[in-house]
């Protein structure tokens, strides 16, 4: 979220050179999931940025969610393998026909770390409390956009009502963002909860301390025995203690792992990846579900008003070359506007093949002729558009520079404009952009509605009542996969075929695990789950 200094890239490269000797000396060992889990011990985990706030309901950065996931339980859990929603705090649930009422039947025996029961009243207090955070809690605002209220049916049954069909809520109920906090938590201010004060959940770990920019410490919840059926064991977590060390410099993070000062790290940079492959270290990898890194076109601006131009741009991007050149083999070229880890993802690789000749033919047919500098021209207008981006992901700039070169070959001039968060936010609000470059993590296809519906984000500036709106509304209205899947597939196809979005690559989480660290798991949104994790002696 904060623009990273550009020098981190150069530093990473230098660190790699300096580290080569060091990494090679690392002793071979277990790593991964080998061996019998050991109970006890401390995991020292290096994370790349300050979480700023550790309340899952308030903050949506990876760094924050990787901490807060361990502190709270959710009503449901989501299977990373197929996106299916499974029981957790709720044993079972019913959804009404138009997905506006969700009734959850809570399991017995779960308690918050202050000893109070996880009952229907607590769930209601937590959802009301989350909604009351308003627009500053961006993720909650999306998940509970149509929240009408919660009703305590009986102590173990809670019904959550919406003013509009909200099929996505079932998946949202599995996220840490809608994790259930104890009623006592809301006696504290949101700012206090951010720092961990009163952040009382029922999760397998309990908050102990948070020193800004240095570390967050969690300890095992004694007596925990209400985990999700998707997890590998039952009872308490293995680890006694988790120390999240905030290590912003990628080279220091990887060097600390290589030299044994950390047990595991997140956000291994592409340049550092080779040193943790096959020398006692392991490198868990998972792409983020949700919208891939893409150029979303404003269909009301300049040359991008012409669908043929947008389609030509889609054909002119060589996705595999971006992955091979700027990223690593751990990253995937996009095969749809949704990442491959997203439930109901449709493989549209055929539409996204690199086809410069096809792009040229489209532009020829539309009357764009090569100009003196190689950029096509029509009626005195240059075939040119700007892309606005911020440096949230280190490789953004290099990826866009490569795409710029690729598009030049089909006679398209892509201008790259790096902006601060505030600037790009302002530009998004005003709608004064040609392309915007972004990704969004969400393990549900409804993220397309939030982003492209004319009633929500409308990033492509479409007009109301277009075919995409209809498909998006259809997938929002039912949790029945048989109905939802074709609607979600249609939405993806329209977005890609019409060139509303030009998908490029999938953001991917790459972790590095030292020889002692085992079984750090990805949950369905590719965030960290530490319940089954353990460290060898």
């Amino acid at each position: 979220m904060v623009t990273r200094p550009v020098r981190t890239l150069g530093f990473g490269a230098l660190a790699l050179v300096l580290l080569t000797g060091c990494g090679a000396q690392a002793t071979a060992g277990g790593g991964g999931d080998a061996g019998t889990p050991r109970v006890g011990g401390t995991l020292r985990l290096g994370i790349s940025s300050n979480p700023d706030c550790v309340d899952p309901q308030q903050w949506g950065t990876n760094a924050s969610l990787n901490v807060s996931r361990q502190l709270v339980d959710s009503l449901t859990d989501q299977d990373p393998a197929d996106g299916a929603i499974k029981p957790w705090l709720a044993e079972r649930w019913e959804v009404n026909a138009d997905s506006t009422a969700f009734t959850f039947h809570l399991r017995d025996g779960a308690t918050f770390s202050d000893g109070t029961p996880v009952d229907a009243a607590a769930v209601k207090a937590s959802f009301d409390g989350a909604r009351a955070l308003g627009p500053k809690a961006a993720l909650v605002a999306g998940y509970l956009a149509a929240y009408r209220g919660s009703t305590v049916v009986d102590p173990r049954t809670v019904r959550i009502d919406f003013t509009a069909p909200s099929a996505q809520f079932l998946q949202a109920s599995s996220t840490m963002t809608l994790g259930v906090l104890a009623p006592a938590a809301y006696n504290k201010t949101p700012e206090q909860r951010c720092q961990g004060d009163g952040l009382i959940g029922s999760g397998p770990f309990v908050f102990e301390s948070y020193k800004q920019n240095q570390q967050v410490v969690l300890v095992k919840r004694k007596g925990y025995n209400w985990g999700s059926p998707l997890w590998k064991h039952t009872g308490e977590a293995y680890l006694d203690r988790v120390e999240y060390r905030i290590v912003p410099e990628p080279g220091v993070r990887s060097g600390s792992l290589a030299s044994g000062q950390l047990d595991a790290i997140t956000d291994v940079q592409p340049v550092d990846e080779p040193q943790f492959a096959g020398n006692g270290f392991t490198e868990p990898v998972r792409p983020n579900p949700g919208i891939v890194f893409n150029l979303t076109a404003n269909t009301t601006r300049g040359v991008l008003t012409d669908p043929k131009v947008r389609q030509a741009v889609a054909k002119g991007v060589n996705r595999q070359e971006v992955v091979d050149t700027v990223l690593t083999k751990n990253y995937k070229a996009a095969t749809s506007v949704l990442g491959s880890a997203t439930p109901l993802h449709t493989d549209l690789a055929g539409l996204l093949a690199y086809d410069p000749a096809g792009a040229g033919a489209l532009l020829d047919a539309a009357g764009w002729r090569p100009g003196p500098d190689g950029i096509r021209v029509k009626d005195g207008q240059r075939l040119s558009a700007a892309v606005v981006f911020s440096a949230v992901f280190n490789q953004n700039q290099s990826a866009l520079e490569l795409i710029q070169q690729q598009l030049r070959k089909i006679g398209f001039d892509l201008r790259i404009e790096l902006k601060t968060t505030a600037e790009s936010t302002q530009i998004q609000l005003s709608g004064e952009y040609d392309f915007i470059w972004f990704n969004v993590t969400r393990a549900d296809p409804d993220i397309l509605r939030q982003t492209y519906s004319t009633k929500a984000g409308n990033r492509s500036k479409l007009t109301a009542g277009n075919p995409l709106d209809a498909a998006l509304e259809k997938q929002a209205a039912t949790t029945d996969r048989a109905v939802r899947e074709p609607a979600a597939a249609e939405a993806q196809r329209i977005i890609v075929e019409q060139g509303y979005s030009i998908p490029v690559f999938e953001l991917t989480q790459v972790w590095g695990l030292g020889p002692k660290a085992h079984a750090l798991e990805f949950e369905a949104s590719s965030r960290l789950r530490l319940y089954d994790a353990w460290v060898a002696e």
């Binding site: 979220m1 904060v2 623009t3 200094p5 020098r7 530093f11 230098l14 580290l19 000797g21 060091c22 290096g46 300050n50 700023d52 706030c53 949506g60 950065t61 627009p135 500053k136 961006a138 605002a141 999306g142 201010t189 949101p190 700012e191 951010c194 720092q195 020193k211 800004q212 920019n213 240095q214 060390r245 905030i246 290590v247 912003p248 410099e249 080279g251 220091v252 060097g255 600390s256 030299s259 044994g260 000062q261 919208i291 949230v392 601060t420 968060t421 505030a422 600037e423 790009s424 936010t425 302002q426 998004q428 609000l429 972004f438 990704n439 969004v440 993220i447 939030q450 929500a456 984000g457």
Partner: protein, 317 residues
């Protein structure tokens, strides 16, 4: 003394005003940073953005915002951080101890090594050794801090595994960040002290003291060093700014909390209350250091007792 205090107040006021104007002139504001920070950008409606702006007083006219902030600041209240909602002054004081630790370590190392090099370099009878020693400070000034810190970590932490690369446990964790942050300061102290020692050693009184039978060591340490220390001491007040400027790099590299990290985050997110709290408290810190330096002067040079000769109160602020 009254004039000095007025100057100090003027410096702090100027720091306050400049930081406000610069942050205000940047495109966007903290409310947009706060609401648009999530992946995929802003989801709030313009009305919701307006409500957050109002909550932090960002919708008031420039003059009103400035006036309100200035009035509150004179009462020690810089407002709440827009990003985290925490009290801005509290954030600065939370971050301060960690920064003071490495700054103190850096200053001690800078004085020891910078001063040591200057004294040895000018004392030795071996011309080549003196030249070698005295060429180190200019080299130290020219080395980028980031690179120095990185090399130190690589050698002493990752390769030799003698010192930790991160963490704040114990004295050992202070050594590498202390050297990193103290190096440019030590180099400047070394340069200035060496230059003024040479000047002093060329003064006629040195001949007289030697003629009266004093040893070389007595001349060097008892007379020349004492006189030469004055410009170097003045410099300590100025280089406090160097130390603070080095905190961003040093704290990032060594994964420490502190004023540098807080400032970087606040500036990036245009969090005016936090930036102003940092700047005003830093200005206050400089003014105080320089005042202390002025008070030490007469102890070194009795001719200055009862007089105030230095005009630049808060150079480097």
């Amino acid at each position: 003394m009254t004039r000095r205090l007025l100057q100090a107040v003027a410096v702090i006021w100027a720091a306050f005003t400049l930081s406000f104007v610069i942050l205000y002139l940047l495109p966007g504001d903290a409310a947009l940073n706060r609401l648009g920070a999530a992946e995929g950008g802003i989801t709030a409606t313009p009305a919701e953005v307006a409500a957050v702006r109002a909550e932090y007083g960002l919708d008031d006219p420039l003059v009103v915002q400035y006036g309100k902030r200035l009035w509150a600041a004179t009462h020690g209240d810089f407002g709440k951080s827009v990003m985290t909602g925490d009290d801005a002054t509290g954030l600065v004081f939370d971050a301060l101890p960690s920064t003071l630790e490495i700054a103190a370590a850096g200053l001690v190392l800078a004085v020891l090594f910078g001063g040591g090099l200057a004294v040895l370099g000018t004392y030795t009878r071996h011309r080549w050794l003196g030249n070698l020693l005295l060429s180190l400070p200019p080299l130290g000034v020219s080395l980028p801090q980031f690179w120095v810190g990185l090399v130190l970590i690589q050698i002493f932490s990752f390769q030799l595994r003698l010192l930790p690369a991160l963490g704040t446990d114990g004295f050992a964790a202070l050594i590498l960040p202390g050297i990193t942050i103290g190096l440019p300061t030590g180099a400047i102290i070394g340069q200035v002290l060496a230059k003024s020692l040479r000047t002093q050693l060329a003064e006629p009184y040195v001949e007289i003291v030697l003629a009266k039978g004093a040893s070389r060591a007595r001349v060097h340490f008892g007379h020349a060093l004492r006189n030469a220390a004055l410009p170097a001491l003045t410099l300590v007040g100025v280089v406090a700014g160097n130390l603070l400027a080095g905190t961003v790099v040093t704290e990032t590299l060594f994964s420490r909390d502190g004023i540098g990290r807080l400032t970087a985050f606040a500036v990036n997110s245009q969090d005016i209350p936090v930036v102003q709290a940092v700047i005003v408290l830093s200005a206050f810190f400089f003014v105080t250091i320089n005042l202390v330096v002025d008070l030490i002067y007469p102890l070194l040079d009795p001719r200055l007792a009862g007089r105030v000769t230095r005009k630049a109160v808060a150079a480097g602020a």
